[in-house]
């Protein structure tokens, strides 16, 4: 089943992003939890982890001014969101059906808010909003205008996830998405590897102190270097090629991620994004990852991509139909 082609719904779904059972998760700095060590003495982060949650990256406008839910509000929010996600999404006509007739059965985005009951994954700034600077706001507005005018001239007009190039949630940084929110961590001598279920990405992070690649070499997922601060794996990623433009960022983005086991079955994942070309100040988020049984299956995205030829061919047919009139 080609679940990737549900992108229209997926994009909507990222607004209502997902999660696991939260009320059990300890906050990042709560505990004296001491993780086990690998045979060669590294803090052991290995296992399969899932970051699904319905808490969104940014605080929803309706919750402006409210940093935390009360437990009762959280339960109500979970209930409302579940109803919304599960409602019959079929539209009044066939076209609507084709574009978005998918309900929760298609997804695996979790049912819970994060355990801290914070109303956004963003913890800084306190308003839970990405602090775009003016230049970026103009740039993103222009890009959105262009996208509206050129929805499907060619493959490059489609989203990167439609094209199976990279997924907006696969990272880095790694965010909960509508499905495939699973990650498996392996540790070897001098590196940590993270298998990302979404489009079978693999991040291999050297922790041996080597320098970054030269700045002339730019990668979709950037170039990551890790080191241990106590029991926390700290990863710095630079050398982005700017084409994945995480949340509108440029190739100058510098990302710091922190992985800390805060309970036997919880890995607290925190990240800070800095890109002066896009954000007025660095911003940070915290996402609990819960241990999962797995296994992780193969997500062969590109190999089953009927969406790109379908969308493009459909656009050409529409143009032909309407060419009697405007004749573009």
């Amino acid at each position: 089943m080609n679940s990737r082609c549900l992108t229209i719904v997926c994009l909507a779904a990222t607004l209502v992003q997902a999660q696991t059972d939260p009320r059990k998760a300890a906050p990042a700095k709560a505990g004296p939890y001491v993780p086990p060590r690998t045979a060669d003495g590294q803090p052991d982060l290995q296992g399969i982890w899932n970051n699904a949650t319905i808490t969104t990256l940014e605080r929803p406008p309706a919750l402006a001014g409210k940093a935390f839910f009360t437990p009762a509000e959280a339960a109500a929010f979970e209930k409302t969101t579940a109803l919304q996600n599960n409602r019959d999404q079929r539209g009044p006509d066939g076209a609507t059906d084709v574009a978005g007739a998918y309900n929760q059965a298609w997804f695996d985005r979790g049912t819970k808010v994060v355990g801290t009951l914070r109303t956004s994954l963003i913890v800084d700034p306190p308003d839970g909003k990405i602090p775009y600077n003016e230049t970026a706001q103009k740039r993103l507005a222009a890009a959105a205008d262009y996208a509206r005018a050129h929805p499907a001239d060619g493959p490059e007009n489609l989203t990167l996830q439609d094209r199976c190039l990279v997924w907006a949630t696969a990272g880095p940084p790694m965010l909960p998405g509508p499905y495939n929110d699973n990650y498996q961590i392996f540790q070897g001598p001098g590196y940590v590897a993270i298998v990302v279920e979404m489009i079978h990405d693999v991040r291999i992070i050297p922790t041996d102190g080597r320098p970054h690649l030269p700045s002339s070499v730019r990668l979709w997922s950037g170039d990551s270097r890790g080191h241990w601060e106590g029991n926390t794996l700290v990863v710095e990623t630079t050398n982005f090629n700017g084409k994945a433009h995480f949340r509108g960022s440029t190739e100058k983005m510098r990302l710091i991620e922190r992985f800390t086991r805060t309970a036997a079955d919880t890995l607290t994942y925190e990240f800070t994004v800095d890109d002066p070309a896009t954000f007025s100040k660095p911003w940070s988020a915290s996402i609990p990852m819960e241990r999962s049984e797995g296994p992780i299956y193969e997500y062969a995205c590109h190999e089953g991509n009927y969406a790109v030829p379908g969308i493009l061919a459909g656009a050409r047919v529409q143009e032909k139909k309407s060419s009697g009139g405007a004749g573009k």
Binding site: T38, A39, D40, Q46, A152, D153, G154, P155, E156, R163, C164, L165, V166, Q184, F186, Q187, G188, P189, G190, Y191, A193, V195, I199, H200, D201, V202, I204, P206, D208, G209, R210, P211, L213, V217, L219, W220, S221, P295, I296, Y297, E298, A300, H302, E303, V308, P309, L312, A313, A315, R316, E319
Partner: protein, 252 residues
């Protein structure tokens, strides 16, 4: 940190992991021309005239034991047809996942991350990845491009049983193919710190009259600070696959 790369230092110092197994951690690559043709072959012009010598096939000695792939007659005919139509049929042309064993001898490096429970192999080509389970999880629930790998040690040899492979991948650019009945048993035997002798026994009752075997060495990449780079090739095949649906033809 001068001198040898860290991985090489590690390998030279400890050929074994803490649990006493041969240490396969590191970045590896095959240097045969098996990806062009598993059988021995002279150099030949490539399928694209404008590419000239860049697109030509390098000569290579075969990697198949006995220098013969035991095709059933009708399957041999299909292999020949595959080769004739390789520009449209070879899954590598479309940047599709390579399957097993082809992933091993694509002309790209791969990295092994070895733990007692799992051995990860991350291939640079197309972000292909497989996890070798050292504890058998039972039959593969579904076919996939990279299949399900279950490993065990026989002395110093890592033996990997690969099942659950779909019928979409090929063995090489010469049109060698298989069905979804493919069963591959790989053997990784370290030879010193910097080489692994690789064997794969291939069985597919729908296509071959008997099992057959390929073998080749895998070499450790010893460059200072060597790391896997990205080969996200989907971007490179969009014009080929979707160009015909463009509003305006792409500029050459």
């Amino acid at each position: 940190m001068g001198g040898l790369p860290a991985y090489a230092q590690t390998a030279a110092r400890t050929a074994r992991t803490p649990d006493g197994k041969p240490n396969l951690n590191g970045i590896w690559q095959v240097l045969t021309t098996a990806n062009w043709d598993l059988l021995g072959h002279a150099a030949a012009a490539g399928p694209m005239v404008p590419l000239g010598a860049i697109g030509a096939m390098p000569a290579g000695q075969g990697v198949v034991d006995g220098e013969e792939i035991p095709y059933k007659p009708e399957a041999l005919a299909k292999k020949k047809e595959n080769f004739a139509n390789r520009l449209t049929l070879d899954p590598e042309v479309k940047c599709y996942l390579p399957g097993v064993p082809r992933a091993t001898y694509m002309p790209f490096p791969f990295q092994i991350v070895q733990t007692p429970q799992y051995i990860l192999i991350s291939y640079e080509y197309a972000n292909a990845v497989r996890t070798i389970y050292m504890k058998d999880p039972g039959p593969s629930p579904i076919d996939s491009w990279m299949g399900q790998s279950v490993g065990h040690w026989e002395g110093d040899t890592l033996v990997v049983d690969v099942t659950g492979l779909n019928d979409q991948s090929w063995f090489d650019r010469a049109g060698d193919f298989h069905s979804d009945a493919l069963h591959v048993v790989e053997r990784y035997t370290p030879r010193g710190a910097d080489a692994i002798m690789y064997e794969a026994t291939i069985e597919d009752k729908n296509v071959f009259t008997k099992p057959w075997k390929i073998s080749m060495p895998i070499y450790r990449r010893l460059e200072k600070n060597v790391q896997l780079m990205e080969f996200k090739c989907v971007e490179f095949v969009e014009e080929l696959m979707y160009g015909k649906y463009r509003k305006q033809p792409a500029k050459p």
